[in-house]
Amino acid sequence: MKFWIFRNARYPFLEWRKKAYVFSATVLSIGILAMVANVILIGNWQSYGVDFTGGTRILVELPEGVTEAELREALGGAEAPPVSRFGAENEFTIRAPAEEGVAAEVVANRIRDQIAASPAIGEFEVLQTEFVGPTIGAELQQQALLAILISFFATLIYLAFRFEFRFGLASIIATVHDIVLTLGFLALFRVEISLPTVAAVLTIIGYSLNDTIVVFDRIRENLNKKGGRREDPVKLINRSINEVLPRTVLTSGTTLAVLLALLILGGAVIRDFTIVLILGVIIGTYSSIFVASPALLEIQKKFGTKEEAERKKRQRSRKKKKEAIPV
């Protein structure tokens, strides 16, 4: 027996596009609402980590049985910097915001001394300290944004060159959709935005593009087959999606399997990173079928294909010539 999933599938994906639009719009709205809510509640649309806001982050391993409340008490009770559990039962992250004119080691040492002075805690180990100056944080934020914009631009140019402009545009629409969805998710669950999270978001761009390109490649191929240009675009795009469906499912499935292994066994340090990537794979697969391909169709409906544009151009110039003759 041979495995061949989704062989000869004929799902009317494009006929479902209206439903997909509603779904995407709903999820996007929830995400954007979460960002707005964050602006109101925590003062920023995402919960930025010390990488971007500047400040000190300390990861400590306390003796078994010490609670978060005890740690918070040791750090000054109500005035304690935010504390959260990290990975194992007895590992905690302490985030102290940047203080004007106070050196990093002063903040780190003060926290260490406070923990050491607490009778409830006893022996503890500092696993990790991170300090980022406020100016560096702002720079990183700019750099990340710049990197995303430039990679968009470069991709658009490449795809316009390799395919047609509308393919590039459709893939950018899908990618923007994916990024906004992901950012909405991050905002909703207040995932800490750190450098690795940014790397993960950028990976999603790559993955989403990869998926979209595979589908578009098949559309391009079918278009260039005999009679492809005259075929109903809805039928052609549907057929193309169905033809690459086995590959889409197999690749996404394999990647998800690896990411799940990372999520379960990879440890706390890369957990957020892995979650964002898993989300990205799901969103990327969805968008290549339900966003990128419909977008291609809508662009074509609205602005016409290259051939139509050329035909019109020819007609127009012929018309002009005709008009020119009597004069």
Binding site: K2, F3, L59, E61, A103, A104, E125, L127, Q128, T129, E130, F131, V132, G133, I136, Q143, A144, L146, A147, I150, S151, A154, T155, Y158, L159, L195, P196, V198, A199, L202, T203, I205, G206, Y207, N210, I213, V214, D217, R218, E221, P246, R247, L250, T251, G253, T254, T255, A257, V258, L259, A261, L262, L265, G266, G267, V269, I270, F273, T274, L277
Partner: protein
């Protein structure tokens, strides 16, 4: 020319051989096949910038200071014995220092960030600043405002009557009012200058009693039995220092005088005090004239000391000054703090020593080390610091390795279950891929970080994707009734465009990440780039070659296990 099977196999073996050779030589040199990032093996990552809060230095000046600091810090670290430290200028005015496996962060930070500006200054009698003291008080009141000073809640406010007492206390005109300090010597005799200054002070107090009621600075000062120094309670130290750092206060000091603190508190009668010295503003000699420094232990007092050796010119100068000032005190300052202020007993030439008080030998050794390496041209500030303890690093490696291995095994199982013998070929190709990526990392001397591992796993996903694209295509061609060989050729041919486009767009993203990212993002971009290139090569070249070998013995009518 790369199409005959023999040439293909030779090329693939050569590439694997190169990878293996790089991995082996890396292993020989460092003990691990690929260099691990600080987040994986533990260590310290620092980003330093010239500390220039007023923005007075030009970019060129800062860039130049960073260039010179790079050499000096490297010299210091080399002596520390950290394996393969990284000291690197990034951009125009930043320095990155990476120290793997450092367990004493404090010490490392001190060694890297210490300016180590060494100066020798003459100590002046306190009479030189007495006239300025009331001006200092007034400058502080004028700058900070009386209300904010009162808000400090400390005994900075004194009534005019008390002010007299403070003045008495300060200059100790009355031996009965000596502060409770265990001093055996007779109270100091006030010289005439001080008397005059005191009278002037009191006269001023009468004129503007209201304003003079606030003595934020002088109320903190206590007398000391040492020449040219005040004492103050250690808990007042931060406040007094913040007063002295005010530019308005610096402006009212006599031009040739500076007031500088001792670098550590001193215990007298169970309480901690800080000494404040009255010094000549300009040093008569600096660390630039230092040629060597070594740490030893003073046998007599069991005290850590640093012995130094000055250059010839420095020795002559030092001899001149000390010769003229026998019986006077000389202060030795490190980064604007007085380390010790001995009395000159005799003329000192090119060799001398710095007493470090209660410091331990490690401190003395580190001081000698930074003095030998030289002072930084400008003070540096830590902009970013990341420290990973060795135990967390080890946990991360173990977990990352295990997760990665299990992920790989899952890929292998899925591929073989789905594609049978062709899946086995794919697994062979993926093994070549793993060897190439590791070899590529070793060849580029790249560092494997945690996000880097994630990038690697993602590129494995892309390598698998390329194989899946090809195999699905071959299946489609076979389903359309093509012969095995034609189906394979067509499959590779048609899958090519999708693989090329997908890989190139991801590569573009990875390169942009590399260009604009820093630290961990860069590590991710590097492994992703190497991974994409390797996956490209394995999917299109290695898998193809394996197929050619597999099909060579087959007849046209045979079936394909796919």
């Amino acid at each position: 020319m790369f199409s005959s099977i023999r040439v293909r196999i030779i090329l693939i073996l050569a590439v694997i051989g190169f990878s293996g050779w790089y991995l082996y030589s890396n292993y020989q040199q460092t003990g691990s096949i690929v260099k691990l990032g600080l987040d994986l093996q533990g260590g310290m990552h620092l980003v330093l910038e010239v500390d220039d809060p007023d923005g007075t230095m030009s970019l060129e000046a800062r860039s130049d200071a960073i260039d010179r600091s790079e050499r000096i810090i490297r010299n210091r670290i080399d002596e520390l014995g950290v394996e393969e430290p990284i000291v690197q200028k990034v951009g125009q005015d930043r320095l990155i220092v990476e120290l793997a496996g450092v367990d004493d962060e404090e010490r490392a930070r001190e060694l890297v960030g210490q300016t180590a500006m060494l100066e020798w200054k003459l100590v002046r009698p306190i009479s030189q600043v007495e006239a300025a003291l009331s001006r200092i008080d007034r400058a502080i009141v004028a700058t900070l405002g009386a209300d904010s000073l009162r808000a400090l809640g400390r005994a900075v406010e004194v009534s005019p009557e008390e002010a007299d007492e403070v003045a008495d206390l300060l200059f100790r005109t009355d031996p009965d009012q000596e502060p409770a300090e265990p001093e055996e010597e007779d109270p100091q005799v006030v010289d005439e200058e001080a008397e005059a200054a005191l009278q002037e002070l009191e006269a001023e107090a009468d004129l503007a009693a209201e304003e003079m009621a606030l003595r934020p600075f002088t109320s903190l000062l206590l007398t000391s039995d040492g020449d040219g120094e005040f004492l103050l309670l250690n808990e007042d130290f931060a406040l007094a220092r913040s007063f002295l750092e005010l530019p308005e206060v610096q402006a009212v000091l006599p031009r040739e005088i500076s007031l500088q603190f001792h670098w550590e508190p001193v215990a007298i009668g169970g309480r901690l005090y800080r000494a404040l010295y009255v010094l000549e503003r300009n040093p008569f000699i600096t660390g630039e004239m230092l040629e060597d420094a070594t740490a030893t232990r003073d046998q007599q007092f069991n005290q850590a000391i640093v012995q130094f050796q000055l250059s010839r010119a420095g020795g002559r100068l030092f001899g001149d000054v000390t010769g003229r000032h026998i019986g006077d005190r000389i202060a030795i300052l490190l980064d604007n703090e007085v380390v010790s202020a001995p009395v000159v007993r005799s003329r000192i030439g090119a060799r001398g020593q710095i007493e470090l008080g209660q410091q331990d030998m490690e401190e003395a050794r580190d001081l000698a080390l930074v003095l030998r390496a030289g002072a930084l041209p400008a003070p540096l500030r830590i902009m970013e610091e990341r420290t990973v303890g060795p135990s967390l690093g080890q946990d991360s490696i173990d977990q990352g390795m295990r997760a990665g291995l299990i992920g790989l095994v899952m890929i292998l199982l899925i591929m073989i279950a789905y594609y049978r013998f062709t899946g086995v070929l794919a697994v062979l190709a993926l093994s070549v891929y793993v060897a190439l990526v590791l070899g590529g990392l070793a060849a580029l001397n790249a560092t494997l970080t945690l996000p880097g591992i994630a990038g690697l796993i993602l590129s494995i996903g892309m390598a698998v994707d390329a194989n899946v694209l090809i195999f699905e295509r071959i299946r489609e061609e076979l389903a359309e009734g093509r012969a095995v060989r034609t189906a394979v050729d067509e499959g590779f041919g048609h899958a090519l465009s999708a693989i090329v486009d997908a890989n190139i767009t991801t590569l573009i993203t990875a390169l942009i990440l590399f260009q604009f990212g820093t630290g961990p993002v860069r590590g991710f971009a590097v492994t992703l780039s190497i991974g994409i290139i390797a996956s490209f090569f394995t999917a299109l070249y290695v898998t193809r070659t394996l197929y050619l070998v597999y099909l060579r013995g087959k007849k046209a009518q045979d079936t394909l296990s796919i």
